[in-house]
């Protein structure tokens, strides 16, 4: 079972991880990125950089390394919706066939996303990528330069990865991630600071299923804004419902006190 984690750096990254790295100043980025890739090379991982051919790359050449630069297809245009997910899937399978321990990816998101990417697109892409990573021998670090994206994009991105690296102030209050087929985990606190990102993540997942399962074993708290977001999201797609599993007694009590246990709200809190 995957467990959410927040850390100051990339040191804890391991196979199966999907890390949102809110990138510190440029010098730190190069040093930390090089260390992350070097660790992989030593451990027998296949290295893939999706992004700039600049300094972090030149030490890792084929066959161990692979460089894909989305800017080659036109700066700022971004990839189509499935390109990153398809690339990671394909290269993870290739790395496995080639006998590598795992595929180790550093994705520079400012060279992957279009400059005008929306929070909805970020949530959709990252959650699909996470579902893939959870079931493959890959670890992916999505590097989001703090100065390269609007705060809303950064908070959305951080909340749809199971793992986070960066400063404490940039840590997301909650993390949503894949925990099996058609099942998602919610960890941390869904409060007013994260309610918009939570609503976006849930509404991006709902179209893909009749009953969206949210495992809440690691959900500590959900405040009024979070619960309102959940109820609103559930009502966005008529005919679908959300199953909130294993929520603690406080979440359950607050849900009932706020009257959201009304049969008209398509959310069920189940054991």
């Amino acid at each position: 079972m995957r467990i959410a984690r927040s850390a100051a750096n990339l040191a804890p990254a391991d196979v199966g991880d999907h890390v949102c790295w809110v990138v510190p100043p440029q010098e730190d980025f190069h040093r930390a990125a090089r260390a992350y890739l070097s660790d992989g090379a030593e451990l027998g991982d296949k290295i893939m950089v999706v992004g700039s051919p600049a300094s972090v790359w030149h030490e890792f050449q084929a066959p161990v390394g692979l460089l894909v630069d989305p800017f080659a297809e036109g700066p700022g245009r971004g990839w189509d919706a499935d390109a990153l997910v398809a690339l990671v899937r394909q290269e993870a399978e290739t790395a496995d066939r080639q006998g590598f321990r795992a595929l180790r990816v550093l994705a520079q998101m400012d060279r992957i996303w279009a400059s005008d990417i929306s929070p909805q697109q970020v949530a959709d892409q990252e959650l699909r990528l996470d579902a893939l990573i959870g079931g493959t021998q890959a670890l992916v670090v999505c590097a989001y330069p703090g100065l390269g994206f609007l705060p809303g994009i950064l908070s959305q991105a951080a909340s749809v990865h199971p793992h986070f690296a960066g400063t404490r102030t940039a840590m997301p209050p909650f993390q949503m991630f894949s925990s099996g087929e058609d099942c998602w985990s919610v960890a941390g606190v869904v409060d007013a600071d994260g309610a918009t990102a939570f609503f976006t993540a849930v509404t991006e997942l709902l179209p893909g299923t009749v009953a969206l399962r949210l495992r809440c074993d690691a959900l500590e708290l959900m405040d009024v804004a979070g619960m309102r977001a959940l109820a609103r999201a559930a009502g966005t797609y008529p005919g679908r419902k959300i199953l909130v599993e294993n929520a603690n007694t406080t979440v359950r009590r607050c849900w009932e006190l706020l009257g959201y246990d009304d049969p008209g709200v398509p959310v069920e809190l189940v054991p």
């Binding site: 708290l221 405040d223 406080t250 607050c254």
Partner: protein, 321 residues
Amino acid sequence: MTSPPAAMTAGGNRPPAFRHELYPYEGDAAFVAGAVSFIEDALSGDETVLVAVGEDKQAMLRDELGKSGADRQVSFVDTGALGRNPGRLIPAWQDWIAKSVGDGLPVRGISESPWRTASPAERGELRYHEWLLNLAFSASPAWWLLCPYDTTTVEPAALDSARLCHPFQLADGRHGDNPVFRQGPFAFDDLGAACDPGETLEYGPGALAAVRDKVAVCATGHGLQGARLRELLVAATEVASNSIRHGGGSGTLRTWVADGVLICEFHDAGHIEDPLAGRFRPAVRQIGGRGLWLVHQLCDLVQIRSTPEHGTTIRLSTVLD
């Protein structure tokens, strides 16, 4: 004991309305006499009777009413389940009355607050609750609430305050107008000085986690854990969110423990205009108005002091076991 005035009965000239009546009495015998007379009047008119008093008074009434079998026609409601916070009483009465009104019957209630066992802070909020009842039920279906006060045990300040906020009284065996009643703003007690509050946290947008961290450090240091801790953290999050959203964008937080009670004090520049904010159960489709409601349900006591001049101070109390 006289019967109720015609104005309060179905055939009266005045429109039916909420009748909030003070009953100062001296000792248990007087309590039983006044309450039983009130109940018997109600039952003779086929009215529904709800009684919310302490266990000792409940036993007295059951004994007395049991002599005629009338105890079986009275609903004794469990105020113990509501906890110590008077902020939960108005929605409870709303629920109880809604059930009775749904049966198509007029309603009478008897409510005696636990003045003897309440802390000074709780007594202050009980007094405010009595004042709020007039506002809360001004537009409700007609019902009559008798509030007994034992003059041998209730502190004089509480009784004086009660006299000001009950439009009617039962005195000398007669139900009538209360000449001392005043319609006006409530005179709050001062909150009193903070007790060794330590550092003050200034919070703003994006700082809800820091607010929870500060509360958690103080709470866990005094043994609070599990669901009680989580509930306090939810309440603290709601109050801080209100500061950020409605209180000028920022606020301050202080925490301390005094007399076995953990207190979290929030202050911001906003003004809560509605004195009934948080006192009504929100409708499921309602937009807004849920935060303070939830805070009242989760905390042992909520004290709100809000003016346009001085902003808003909210103290959340959690009794440490």
